[in-house]
């Protein structure tokens, strides 16, 4: 008997697809996030201490964040006031990100299913890497997982190989 790597269902030898979850059994299906070789990723590391919000005395409580996915040209407007998760949809494991990068080449680009989240706090936008396999980069520097970094207008976020251009408007 062979066991489906995704749902654990047992199949007779020679079976090619899991009838339960539809996965291609010999390779386990195109599912997991492949690690990208280091040389393909930016090398720098963002300092967690250089994290002071740039206020200039103005409170940006109504600021709207928009991002553009470089690979596909898709533009997304962030809903105000909510955590916004970015990753790849995987219904079998109950992962439903707010922004699914699968149609933008997310799987090949090394985007994890739960990659990072963006949220608003006290008028500022923050990005936090969620322990992704290939990292989240802010202007070329890798973010320490689970440590929030402030986002500014004109920043470029990179998830694995997928780049997101950030625009913040008052």
């Amino acid at each position: 008997m062979i066991e489906c790597p995704s749902c654990g269902r047992k199949h007779r030898p020679g079976t090619l697809f899991c009838s339960e979850c539809g996965i291609y059994l010999p390779t386990g299906g195109p599912l997991g996030t492949e690690p990208i070789p280091n040389r393909d990723l930016p090398a720098g590391k963002a300092s967690a201490w250089n994290n002071e919000p740039d206020r200039e005395g103005v409170r940006r409580s109504n600021a709207a964040l928009q991002m553009r996915i470089a690979s596909s040209g898709r533009q997304i407007q962030l809903p105000v006031g909510e955590d916004f998760q970015i990753g790849r949809l995987d219904a079998a494991h109950g992962i439903f990100p707010d922004l699914d990068l699968t149609p933008d080449g997310g799987l090949k680009g090394g985007v994890s299913r739960r990659h990072c989240k963006i949220y608003q706090n006290d008028g500022d936008y923050y990005v936090e890497d969620l322990g992704s396999a290939n990292g989240t980069f802010l202007d070329g520097e890798r973010l320490t997982p689970y440590l929030p970094h402030i986002l500014q207008d004109g920043d470029t976020l990179q998830l694995g190989r997928i780049a997101l251009d950030i625009t913040i408007r008052q």
Partner: protein
């Protein structure tokens, strides 16, 4: 050894017969037909033939040679039909109690003919119930008028409108009656209820009245509603039509029609069914259907699969021209027609029990069909699928699986997932149905089918909340997976 002779038939044994069975068959026949025997008065040539057959088949190595040469001979002898057979594995493992083998059959004309068009004997059965009012009937009328221009003079066309009852608008040779037919279509009006059997019965009657040898009979049913109380009558009528080689194309418009009924009518008659989401698509779909009829090469294709002992066919799907489950437990599967330009593809899932090392015959395949343009009937192809059993065979999958087989199986897997979701839902297992659709959505995303994945996700959400499916979502997913075009690279 003479490959023109069927030694198995001479000894009245199956190609799967063991050496022992062959020996017994020989002893029985030899005793009966021996020249010294007084039992029957037969020419001695028959006895010599039996001896010759036994001489070849009694020795495993000369039997193997004979089998191989016969296969080659059958391939070389070019009939009007040709096929190729691909297996998911080159070798099977002796260690497994039971294992799975897939076979993909691809059937095509051996030499594509230049001009092959058969005269058509077509009935358009048009739903004119109240719900067709407006855009739907307007589009159907336009499509039907356009079809009239595409038909040839020697074709016959019957137009039947139906609601609670059916009416023959016209039934005649196309040449000379085009203007009359178009006027008849223009005058169609929508009113009343939907009783499909009324229309279907009259449509089949008209087609049968015009049917001659060498003519292709076909019914196109266009409907947007559910029929009331005559479902079983419709299926029985479709079955009878299939028996006379009259296939039914069932086209459902909008979301309210009964997909199970239309699918059954299509598959019982050897035809196809399709979903028309917006009335604007009627034209292209009807045109495609009629053009497809114009390129029909073989009709009444039927596949019989016999397994050796311990070998069973567990499922069978036609993949091309349209995805349809064709499995039937008694072996004869109706495959419909073969077009000049589109091969018929069938996938078999087979369970094989444990066997000792060596080559074993597993399946005997027999395909029959008529080629009306060549006046050939009951044209038959035969093939015995053999597979080698070895110790420590590679465990299947990976690079060995032919890409065409892989993409066919991938498509069937997705189609089966949605089938399982609907049947789980019908049995009240809401959670199971939701999970199946969600997993299907994930697989669809993996292969880049974003639109269909979204439909599956939405439907899963709806089912979880409302404990029921939507007519639209169900049809989008069912007919969407059926027409998927998956390349094997999706499983790299």
């Amino acid at each position: 050894m003479d490959v023109e002779k069927d030694y198995y038939a001479v000894l009245s044994v199956s190609p799967f017969a063991s050496q022992k069975q062959i020996k017994h068959a020989y002893y029985r026949l030899a005793r009966r037909y021996h020249p010294d025997s007084r039992e029957v008065d037969t020419p001695t040539s028959l006895f010599h033939e039996i001896q010759e057959a036994y001489a070849v088949l009694s020795d495993p190595s000369s039997r193997r040679d004979y089998d191989r040469q016969c296969d080659a001979h059958r391939r070389a002898r070019r009939g009007p039909l040709a096929w190729s057979i691909l297996l998911s594995r080159k070798t099977l493992d002796t260690a497994h109690e039971e294992q799975v083998l897939y076979a993909l059959l691809e059937i095509a004309p051996s030499v594509p003919p230049e001009d092959n068009r058969l005269p058509l004997d077509l009935a358009l059965v048009i739903d004119c119930s109240t719900s067709m009012k407006g855009h739907r009937l307007k589009n159907v009328k336009e499509a039907a008028r356009q079809i009239i221009d595409e038909l040839h003079d020697e074709d016959t066309l019957a137009i039947i409108s139906f609601n609670d009852r059916a009416e023959v608008v016209l039934s005649d040779r196309v040449g000379g009656t085009r203007a009359h037919a178009k006027a008849g279509i223009t005058a169609l009006r929508a009113e009343g209820g939907t009783e499909i059997l009324q229309g279907l019965r009259i449509g089949l009657r008209e087609v049968t009245a015009h049917l001659r040898p060498g003519v292709l009979g076909h019914v196109v049913l266009l409907t947007d509603g559910r029929t009331y109380g005559d479902d079983e009558g419709c299926i029985a009528a479709a079955e009878r039509a299939g028996g006379r080689d009259i296939a039914i194309t069932a086209l459902g418009i909008g979301d309210d029609w009964n997909d199970d009924l239309l699918d059954q009518m299509a598959s019982r008659s050897g035809g196809t069914s399709a979903y028309i989401a917006s009335p604007g698509q009627v034209r292209s779909l009807l045109q495609k259907t009629v053009r497809g009829l114009g390129s029909v090469y073989a009709t009444g294709l039927s596949l019989t699969v016999r397994g050796a002992e311990g070998v069973s066919v567990e499922n069978a799907f036609r993949i091309s021209p349209a995805l349809e489950r064709v499995y039937s437990p008694d072996g004869a599967m109706r495959l419909g027609t073969l077009a000049v330009d589109t091969p018929v593809k069938v996938l078999l899932a087979v369970a094989v029990d444990r066997r000792p090392p060596g080559e074993h015959p597993l399946l005997e395949l027999e395909l029959t069909g008529d080629i009306p343009s060549l006046d050939r009937h009951e044209e038959t192809l035969k093939h015995v699928v053999r597979c080698a059993f070895v110790d420590d065979a590679p465990n299947g999958g990976g690079d060995d699986v032919p890409p065409a087989l892989l993409s066919a199986l991938g498509k069937i897997t997705l189609y089966r997932m949605q089938e399982r979701a609907w049947s789980a839902l019908a049995e009240g297992r809401v959670e199971q149905a939701t999970r199946q659709l969600e997993m299907m959505a994930t697989r669809l995303l993996d292969i880049g089918e974003v639109q269909l994945a979204r439909s599956a996700m939405l439907e899963a959400k709806h089912i979880a909340e409302k404990e029921g499916s939507t007519d639209q979502g169900r049809k989008e997913i069912k007919y969407g997976t059926r027409s998927l075009d998956i390349g094997s690279e999706a499983y790299d």
